[in-house]
Structures are given as C-alpha cells and as structure tokens.
C-alpha cells in the first residue's frame, strides 16, 4: 500500500511512454524491501514523499519546492543545489532534497564497477534516484540531506576519483565527445583538451564569480556529438584548414555498390542503388562538389565542413591533415530572447600543448563578460546587446569575413581613434585654408 494516494500521478503511467512515476514507485518499493540491507542515511520513505509532494503540486497547481539555499561542501560554491520543500511536516522524507552534480567520466566511458559504486553510494546516502546526462551532460544525483553532503563528497573524491560538477554562477561541468578514443572524424583530442581545461579552471568551476552560468563543450568535429554549438557558451569544434582527403577508388566502390553508404546505417530498408549525385553532390550545402571523368572533385575553398559527404562515404572521404578547432560563443537556452546557437569567434586555432592560445581566448572572453555583463546575463545575451564586434575586440582579434553573418545587417561603422590617420586632432589653420568659417 503506497504511503500517499496519487491518482493524478497514476494517470501519467497510463500513456504509451516509459513513465518516471513508475520508476519512482519501483525505487520506493525497493527501499522498503531493502534486500541488500543498506544502512539508509536518508529517510526510507524519501521516494514515497517525493511522489506525495508532486501529487499535491498537481492538485494545487503550484510548486512546493523553495528556490535555492545555502548548502555545499567546504570550499566549493557549486556542485550542490539546495532544495527544501515547504511542507516538511506532511512530507518529512523530502524536507531536504538536495541535488548533487557530479563530473561524468570523460567521453562517458563507464566501467560497470564504477556504476555499481555510484549506485551503492546513492542508495545509501541519497534517494536512489539519478538523472544521467540530461541537457547539462553530467551525472545528477537527486535527493539527499545536508548532513550527507560532506560524506558524499569524501566518498566521490577519495574512493571514486571523481569531482563534483558545476552549478550556480560558475563554469559548469565541461563535456567532450569521445573524440580520438574511437572516432576517425576527430580533428583534435577532445577528451584531452576538456580534461586540461577542467584542471586549468578549477577555480572557475568551484568558486562562482561569473554574472551567470558558463558552459564549455568540446566536439571533435562538426558532427557535434555533444551539441556544443547549441548548448555551451563557448564551443570548441574540430575542423581542418586543408583539403578533404579523397580516395577515388573508394568513391568508385561506393558508386558501384561495393561499399554501403553511411556505414550501412540505412540497411534496414531497400532504398535502391546508391546515387552519388542525389545523395551527396546535390546535398552539399555550398554546392562545391562535382564529378569529372568518373572522379569526385571538391572545391575546398567553398566547403563549410558540414560533414555530410564524409558521413555518407567515410571510406572515401576523410578529414584534412591540417587540423585544429573553431571557437564559437554565445549559445543558450530560451529563457530570455529565445534560444540561440553559437556565433563563430575564432575560425581556426591549432590545438597544441600547453594550449596558451586557447586559454588567451577563454580568459579574454571572461574578462569582458565579467566586466560588462549584467547580473544573470548570459554571454550570448551580452553579445546581442553590445554586438559581436565587441567580443572579437575583447579577445584581440581583427574581424574577418567569417564573422559576418550577412552583408548590410548593420550599416554603421564606428572608427576607433587609433585606426584613423592623425587621430581625432586636426590642424585648424590647415583646415581653414579650404573651409570658411
């Protein structure tokens, strides 16, 4: 018999989709049975009370969670999000229901042993409920009490070699695609750069002092498996400067049907013979490909590295040899002014230890945003307010055509004094030679 009747929540279980209500009920039951004899450190009925308070919210049409709080582990200003409910007598199991953000393993490589440790930790010191890799990308452990926080932190750092992630006005848990560890499209070692930048900017990660949140994400190539262009204030996307490497024999093998396009991903249905004109050349967004005497030609100057042709014919077309990454800035979710994708800031930069050039760009942007950004203003909003030109100047670059989204968007040019010969001062006598008063 459930602790609280939840007719409104029960209804959510009746749809065709998996239901979080069923999951929470299952965990509630498992906690009561406690077959593993776990020494629970948070109330055994935390999941029951979670369902209870949610049911009440559905009934009342309002939330019963308070917003925020003063919780954390010593020395860290992020990683723990304090949550308290406003009906603790009715639902004591969720009087405290703090969230812990935990850095995910790089490239999401888990071992089963690590997953077991994580689950054991959370059964004992938390609600048992987790949220793995949502939009934030890190491990989210849902529901614990204040006295458990230092214990959890100790266990994670000392026995699991894992740090807390970011929350609040700081650098959020950085994330990378699996990059060179598996993927032939990786234009730089995304996991390594992510790791290095995470270590370099520990202070920014754990001691919040930004106007608002700030996210880094690292994609090894423009396929964007961590979707950095859409969900990070600063995206690092692998690219190359020279030519796509073409193996003409393999092109012929694709055309002749000897190699399946897209690595055989569409083999479940008969789509007919592969048609390189229709499926590759006509779909190239910059129309920079053509066939000539049975050979595939690419005008690489026009190619935007969209990855389409490489994805369709991976054995024939390969990323270039002169590799690096592009940096984009300002992506964000819809809260103010709608969602925004990143804008190109640095078209190409080499990825070389000790990454000083990349750090200069990062720190230039931070200096500018911390100086000019309003409270709770994301980088993308500041760029919209002050213009991309200000962001470009902040990192000491000169504008290039790639910074221009479309011509004639803004007809005004503001000259700086140092760009004008002779500056703003002029010789009035000389001027009067040609102009009357």
């Amino acid at each position: 018999m459930a602790k609280h009747a939840t007719p409104l929540l029960d209804q959510l279980q009746s749809g065709p989709w998996p239901s979080f209500v069923s999951d929470i009920k299952e965990e509630a039951e498992r906690r009561h049975k406690n077959e593993k004899n776990v020494e629970y450190q948070v109330p055994v009925d935390v999941c029951d009370d979670l369902l209870g308070i949610l049911e009440l919210s559905y009934k009342d049409g309002t939330t019963h969670w308070k917003h925020g709080g003063i919780v954390g582990v010593f020395g860290y200003g992020g990683g723990v999000i304090g949550r308290y409910c406003d009906q603790p007598q009715m639902f004591p199991g969720v009087a405290h229901f703090h969230t812990v953000r935990v850095a995910q393993p790089s490239g999401m490589y888990y071992t089963s042993e690590y997953l077991r440790q994580l689950c054991d930790l959370w059964e004992m010191r938390g609600s048992g409920l987790t949220n793995m890799h949502g939009a934030t990308g890190d491990i989210v452990l849902l529901g614990t009490t204040t006295p458990q926080l230092e214990e959890i932190f100790y266990e994670l750092t000392h026995n699991m070699n894992t740090d807390l992630g970011g929350s609040g006005s700081n650098l959020r848990t950085p994330a990378a695609c699996l990059g060179e560890s598996r993927c032939e499209w990786a234009c730089y070692d995304a996991q390594e750069l992510c790791h290095q930048m995470t270590n370099e900017y520990q202070d920014e990660l754990h001691r919040p002092a930004f106007p608002y949140k700030f996210k880094f994400k690292f994609d090894g190539c423009p396929n964007g498996c961590v979707a950095s262009i859409a969900r990070s204030d600063m995206s690092f996307i692998g690219t190359w400067r020279d030519e796509i490497r073409i193996d003409q024999e393999a092109v012929a093998a694709y055309v002749g049907g000897e190699i399946q396009p897209n690595g055989g991903a569409h083999a479940g249905k008969d789509w007919g013979a592969f048609d390189i004109e229709k499926e590759v050349i006509d779909l190239c967004p910059t129309e920079c490909m053509w066939m000539e005497d049975g050979k595939l030609k690419i005008n690489d100057r026009e190619c935007t590295r969209c990855m389409h042709c490489l994805n369709v014919m991976p054995r024939a077309l390969r990323i270039g040899n002169d590799r690096g990454l592009s940096i984009l800035v300002g992506a964000k979710a819809p809260i103010l002014d709608g969602a925004q994708m990143g804008s190109l800031l640095v078209p190409f930069i080499k990825v070389e230890e000790p990454y000083d050039e990349i750090k200069e760009i990062i720190e230039g942007i931070w200096e500018w945003w911390m100086e000019e950004g309003k409270n709770r203003e994301r980088l993308g909003e500041l760029i919209k307010r002050q213009g991309l030109a200000k962001a470009i100047a902040a990192v000491g670059l000169t504008p290039v055509p790639q910074h221009v989204m479309e011509p004639r968007h803004n007809p005004y040019i503001f000259w700086k004094e140092e760009d004008v010969e002779g500056g703003w001062d002029r010789d009035i006598a000389d001027y009067r030679k040609h102009h009357q008063r």
């Binding site: 917003h67 709080g69 200003g77 001691r207 002092a209």
Partner: protein, 78 residues
C-alpha cells in the same frame, strides 16, 4: 587600501535593510581599480574565512553574511 573585509562588511550593513544577498558584481564594484578575476580571489577568500557565505538558486550564486538571508527576510515577512 583599506581592509577589503571592512569595505565589504560596511557595504553589506549599509544595505541590510533592503537586501541580504548580493551578486558578485555588486561586491566587485567596491574594488573598481581591481581586475575582475583579482576581485574574485579576494571575495572568495572572504568566503573561505567564513566572513561571507554562498547562496545558490541552482542557476545563480549570490553572497551574504553567514546565517542571514533566509527566504522570509528576502520576502519581507520578518
């Protein structure tokens, strides 16, 4: 320069009727001659020393004196 701790405390006390929590920018503005990332070190040191305390909504972090800034105060329900 005067003791940063005194500058911060004086500012917070002068505002204590209206506010109990402050954005980083509000505090950094007390040290206009400093680069933002230097001001950050200084203010975080005050947190480590227990002079200030972090408060987080989950998405935004603010600073206040330890133990103050309960929800009720901020909402004028004292």
């Amino acid at each position: 320069m005067a003791d940063p701790k005194e500058i911060v405390l004086e500012f917070i006390h002068s505002k204590s009727k209206q506010k109990s929590k402050f954005y980083f920018n509000d505090l950094a503005a007390l040290f206009p001659e400093m680069k933002m990332r230097e001001a950050k070190k200084l203010i975080n040191q005050l947190v480590s020393d227990g002079v200030l305390e972090y408060w987080s909504s989950g998405s935004t972090t603010m600073y206040g004196l330890p133990g103050t800034g309960k929800q009720a105060g901020a909402e004028g329900e004292e």
